[in-house]
């Protein structure tokens, strides 16, 4: 299987000590990869380092053989899109206008909006089922709709690779499913390579083809959900005793905390 993104000995940090240490990764093309781990383990930092949002202190990231951090910003933005965790939404912006910002990498001072831009915006709206909401103000949408609008913006960039930083934060379960099924459909229908950070292990196991488990900035395990989501790995990554059972709907691994009540003394089932 070909790799869309390859990280080699990647170290990342914000000036001080490195948050991500010597990570080497191969993320498969045309699949959904999900990065999981505890709070503050460097998931988002790793995702930022895979794009040009964070320059590595050492190591490199290659996109189809080209060094991401040496590419011209606009050229990279036509091949790799990243949706940050909590982007700012200005007041009084319609969904269509927001999505049209995704065409910025294709514009120059002399070449403004073209019919190809319009077509790309329409395609992105259709793919995220936002066409009927295109005329609404982004600030009036529900959380799930708003997130779909942002995904549509990243889609309008028409890149082969889409990075999503916790696209389901602050959403209830119904909206989380809404956003993730949209992402899965994009991947299935268009072959977009998706790399995203998710908090929820069960949803990650359900939607990922490839899972990467991080602990304190180091890769603990990677592979298919069946390989990665085991009680032992979860214990290593989250420090929590769990029982892993097959998801009754999809058959993918499902994680259930082993601790039964608030006192933390009683456990049901033989966890670790």
């Amino acid at each position: 299987m070909s790799c869309a993104l390859t990280a080699t000995d990647l170290c990342l940090g914000y000036g001080g000590a490195d948050i991500v240490h010597d990570v080497s990764l191969e993320l498969p093309a045309g699949r959904i990869s999900v990065i999981v781990g505890a709070n503050g383990c460097g998931k988002s930092t790793l995702l930022r380092g895979l794009s040009r949002l964070l320059r590595p202190s050492s190591g490199s990231v290659h996109l189809d053989g080209e060094d991401v951090h040496r590419m011209a910003p606009k050229a990279l933005a036509r091949r790799l899109a990243l949706l940050p965790q909590s982007p700012l939404t200005p007041d009084a912006l319609t969904v269509r206008e927001l999505v049209a910002f995704g065409r910025a990498p294709y514009r120059t001072a002399l070449r403004r909006e073209s019919s190809e831009d319009h077509a790309a915006v329409d395609r992105a709206l259709t793919a995220t089922t936002m066409t009927s909401l295109a005329d609404r103000m982004v600030s009036d949408l529900s959380g799930g709709q708003r997130q779909r609008a942002w995904i549509a913006m990243a889609l309008a960039q028409e890149t082969d690779v889409l990075l999503l930083d916790e696209p389901t934060t602050f959403l209830d379960l119904a909206h989380q499913m809404d956003v993730l099924t949209t992402v899965a459909r994009l991947n299935a229908e268009r072959g977009v390579t998706v790399v995203m950070v998710l908090h929820d292990l069960n949803l990650a196991a359900r939607f990922a083809h490839h899972l990467v488990a991080l602990r304190s900035g180091e890769v603990i395990a990677c592979g298919t959900p069946d390989e990665v989501v085991t009680a032992q790995t979860v214990k290593e990554v989250l420090g929590l005793d769990t029982v892993v059972i097959p998801d009754p709907v999809t058959g993918t691994p499902m994680v259930v905390p082993a601790q039964a009540d608030a006192t933390g003394t009683e456990t049901l089932g033989g966890a670790a």
């Binding site: 930022r48 794009s51 040009r52 949002l53 910003p73 606009k74 050229a75 990279l76 933005a77 036509r78 899109a81 990243l82 949706l83 940050p84 982007p87 700012l88 939404t89 200005p90 007041d91 009084a92 319609t94 269509r96 910002f101 995704g102 910025a104 990498p105 514009r107 001072a109 295109a134 005329d135 990243a154 960039q157």
Partner: protein, 337 residues
């Protein structure tokens, strides 16, 4: 497909209506300003003077007194307004206009220093104002890069910088003779009636360049409003873009301040006002027009309404309007938070 079209049409119709109203108000105020004075000019006389004809004293009054005031109102209003809009959009805070966060003080302190201590005038003075404004702009940018809660820290540090620069200005004023200090004080109030034709030509020339650059950075600024990360993942160099916007905003304030003085609160008011008129959809071109309208109307009122023979410096009036506006804005911010 019909719904998006109707919204965009509605937005454009509204923008068109707003622009038309502002242009009409400006034209009306400007022609009234040209007509009124110790000798009242009929529309025919004004037209004759403007097209190169006209006679004697009236021609002199219009060309040397009334027309320069109108033109400097138009130019300075646009420059200050766009400068305010750039800073307010960059810092995502309607209070973060150059006159509030100290950039205006930087320009005026540098100008007073150049005027009183070095005896400069013309282009040199504009250059000095530019250096002062950009220095404060750079200081603000350095502080802004520090961390989160930008708006509050900016405004507080702006007040601190402003107080320090006012002290510098006062020191300079006490060190010069009364006549020169009086001229400087008059300039510090903000006045459009003392501009000479060469000054106006310089202002107009630099404004053309700066507004063209503004149009060039505006699409990038719209991306910065979505957050640095989004702007960068859309292929922009966020850091360079931000420096560019700050330098541009500081330069627009400087060229205006060097000619008409620090006209109080025009930068603060114009962009939020224009945004409100457009139903929340801000636009720097309409902001420029709003600034122009504000200053032209304020100049007309301050020149004639108070019945003083010499008129009131326009800065006094924009200061009063601006203070009310600032208080409204502050109470609105508080109720929103």
């Amino acid at each position: 497909m019909s719904r998006p079209v109707t919204t965009m049409t509605r937005v454009r119709t509204r923008a068109g209506g707003v622009v038309l109203c502002l242009v009409l108000i400006t034209l009306l105020a400007a022609s009234t300003r040209l007509a009124l004075g110790t000798r009242i000019a009929a529309p025919g006389d004004i037209l004759a003077v403007l097209t190169g004809g006209g006679r004697g004293a009236l021609r002199f009054m219009i060309l040397q007194d009334r027309l320069p005031a109108v033109i400097s109102s138009v130019l300075a209003g646009a420059a200050l307004a766009v400068s305010g809009g750039l800073f307010q959009r960059l810092l995502r805070n309607p209070l973060a206009s150059p006159d509030v966060i100290g950039v205006g003080y930087g320009a005026s302190a540098a100008t007073v220093f150049g005027m009183l201590s070095l005896g400069l005038s013309g282009w040199w003075l504009t250059g000095f104002a530019l250096v002062g404004a950009i220095a404060v702009g750079a200081a603000i940018l350095a502080m802004a890069l520090g961390g989160r809660d930008l708006g509050t820290r900016l405004i507080l540090s702006g007040i601190a910088i402003g107080a320090a620069l006012v002290a510098v200005v006062n020191l300079l004023l006490t060190r010069t003779d009364v006549r020169t200090a009086g001229d400087a004080l008059h300039w510090l109030t903000g006045s459009v009636t003392d501009s000479s034709w060469p000054q106006l030509a310089a202002l107009a020339g630099s404004l053309v360049v700066l507004l063209a650059l503004t149009a060039w950075v505006a699409p990038g600024l719209a991306l910065l409003e979505l957050g640095d990360d989004t702007a960068r993942s859309l292929g922009r160099r966020a850091g360079a873009l931000r420096v560019g916007v700050v330098v541009l905003g500081a330069a627009l304030t400087a060229v205006a301040v060097a000619v008409v003085g620090p006209l109080a609160f025009v930068s603060l008011m114009a962009h939020p006002l224009a945004t409100r008129l457009l139903g929340g959809r801000g636009n720097l071109a309409v902001t420029a027009l709003t600034g122009t309208t504000l200053v032209v109307v304020a100049d007309l009122i301050s020149a004639h309404l108070f019945g003083l023979s010499s008129g009131l410096p326009v800065g006094v009036l924009t200061g009063v309007i601006g203070a009310v506006f600032l208080l409204t804005l502050l109470s609105r911010e508080r109720s929103r938070a």
